[in-house]
Amino acid sequence: MFQYYFLLGLRSLRRNPALTALMVLTLAVGVAASVATLTILHVMSGDPIPHKSDRLFVPLVDNGPIEGYKPGDDRPDNQVSYRDAVNFLNSKAAERATAIYGTSVAVEPARKDMTVFISRGLGVGSDFFNMFDAPFLHGQPWSPADDKAGANVVVLGRKLAEKLYGGTDPVGQRITMSGQQYQIVGVLDTWTVVPRFHRIIGSSDGAFSDEDDMFIPFAAGIRNELPRNGSTTCTSDVPPGYQAFLDSECTWIQFWFETRSASDRPALQNYLDSYAAEQRKLGRLKRNAPNVLYDVREWLDFMKVVGNDSKLSAWLAFGFLVLCLVNTIGLLLAKFSVRAAEVGIRRALGASRREIFNQFLIETTVVGLVGGVLGLVLAFGALALIAMQSKALTVVAHMDWIMLLTTFAMAVLSAVLAGLLPTWRACQVTPALQLKSQ
């Protein structure tokens, strides 16, 4: 009977076309609004590295001044100082570790047809690429020896590599950046991490910024005194000079540890506590604040990657969907009320209440499916509009298969929910009354 009812449902779309169109549109608009905001929320709040998100940790120690500090105060910042970063790197406290800081360089192309341009990149450790599963198109990461030596080596992002060398493999060639020669050891493939959890702070668009142009050893960036791109927090005056800045308690480096397994977290926490205690003993750390490890999910929460605005938008969109559903209920009641005679006839011809219920519910499902298709078109349109607002939104405003299926499921479920009351009312029709009144 499902097929029969489905065909009746398709036919009933042609009955009262204006009412049907209004119903489909109401449902579609409600679903589109919800799906568009839900898609953004879904992309924003997804686990960017699910197979190891519980093994990657951001360590934070509080190196703020004791003046004005009260235990329990909010943590002042979310980066570490150069001294802490170097100490963490030397500690071997975990399987892998990397310091990250944003920088920019003036690229001087060898090609005569190109002029000097500024490129954005990161100073990182050689472990960085394996820690965050960066995909290599050509070459490989530099060696730990290059880390130690602060060698002038570079891994290019795909876009920059294509800009400078077209489709050819540039590994082994030299590139001049900010007056220094760097040897190209690798080229990354397209690498879109959403949210871009490893480098939230200091990116122009936060967790949803574009790919980096190039990666150089952290120590090379320091040795060459490359400028910092991103946030720097200093709680006291810093004497002039680069070394003085490195020796200061200014925080400007993002640090990540990777443990062998999630169960190694307590050991890493112990290390962090011991380290902080030692630094307190040395008189460097003044506050007796807790030392914190964040895994990837905790880090995204702590950094409020999914802002309250996004959550509020989603709630508002769902509120709107409920409003649309209420309207759809009214429209369905109107549509079904004129079908009382048909219900009476079908009942007289042998349809039980259950059969009538099934028929009308499948009819509303058909409305839901059509609403789903239209909702999908509108959702794509809404996402395109949202993507036009900023570069960061371009990254998150795209629909995947899960959301595509969710759209249909939501449309059908909404239609079925909206159809329950009108369908139940249709089942209550007294056939004798309807048949006589015809």
Binding site: M1, I345, A348, L349, A351, S352, R354, A432, L435
Partner: protein, 242 residues
């Protein structure tokens, strides 16, 4: 075929009780053509609705083709209605946006026949009423008499044992009414029991038996002699309006 004993039907509102049927007794035999007459408000329609399992009765007994229907749930009543009964209404009650084929198909769908059997039954039923060539047409494209013929085809398609007709010629002109009545007589002659509510004394005269209802009770049962019934028949054996 149909037996009601001491049956009553009371409509209750918070203020009033209305006795539509009281102490109602009737016994219709297999193959009979019974007409039901009575003034407006006498209980004819309530009787027909109860006979057609469209309404429940308040008290008494109702046996349909040997089955006691008292206390049956909606599913069982619907199944019984679908298998044993056919309905013909004064207002035809065809579904306007279904073709004739699909209208006749409705009760067969609920019966669960497969597509081939449904098609065969629909074509057969529409042939019987002379509308096989108009299967793809819609009710609005037919005259009143033709629409009533489709309704008869729909009632017949499931091979019911009892055909319930509520003023089937009430909306038709004399010529069309005559045609429909002849068709019903033919159907009855082939063995289907017919119970027909009518206001028309001429039609009542043509049935084998007329049951008159007044104030919710059978006032008198007029069993007409075969001679009287035959007196209204033509030489070819077909009935006509006297």
């Amino acid at each position: 075929m149909l037996r009601m004993q001491n049956l009553s039907k009371v409509y209750r509102t918070h203020m009033i009780e209305t006795h539509a049927l009281r102490g109602f007794e009737i016994n219709v035999k297999q193959g009979e053509f019974v007409t039901v007459t009575g003034p407006s408000g006498s209980g004819k329609t309530s009787f027909l609705n109860i006979a057609g399992l469209l309404e429940e009765f308040t008290d008494g007994e109702y046996i349909l083709d040997g089955i006691n229907v008292k206390g049956m749930d909606d599913n069982a009543r619907s199944r019984l209605r679908n298998e044993k009964l056919g309905f013909i209404f004064q207002g035809f009650n065809l579904i306007p946006d279904l073709s004739l084929f699909d209208n006749v198909d409705v009760p067969l769908r609920y019966r669960g026949f497969n597509a081939a059997e449904r098609k065969e039954r629909i074509e057969d039923a529409l042939s019987k009423v002379g509308l096989a060539s108009r299967m793809k047409h819609y009710p609005a494209e037919l005259s009143g008499g033709q629409q009533q013929r489709v309704a008869i085809a729909r009632a017949l398609a499931g091979s019911p044992k009892l055909l319930l007709a509520d003023e089937p010629t009430g909306n038709l002109d004399t010529q069309m009414a005559r045609g429909v009545m002849e068709l019903l007589e033919e159907i009855n002659a082939q063995g289907t029991t017919i119970l027909m509510v009518t206001h028309d004394p001429e039609l009542a005269v043509r049935s084998q038996r007329n049951v008159h209802i007044i104030d919710g009770q059978v006032s008198d049962l007029v069993r007409k002699s075969p001679t009287l019934f035959d007196a209204n028949a033509n030489a070819d054996g077909k009935s006509h309006v006297a």
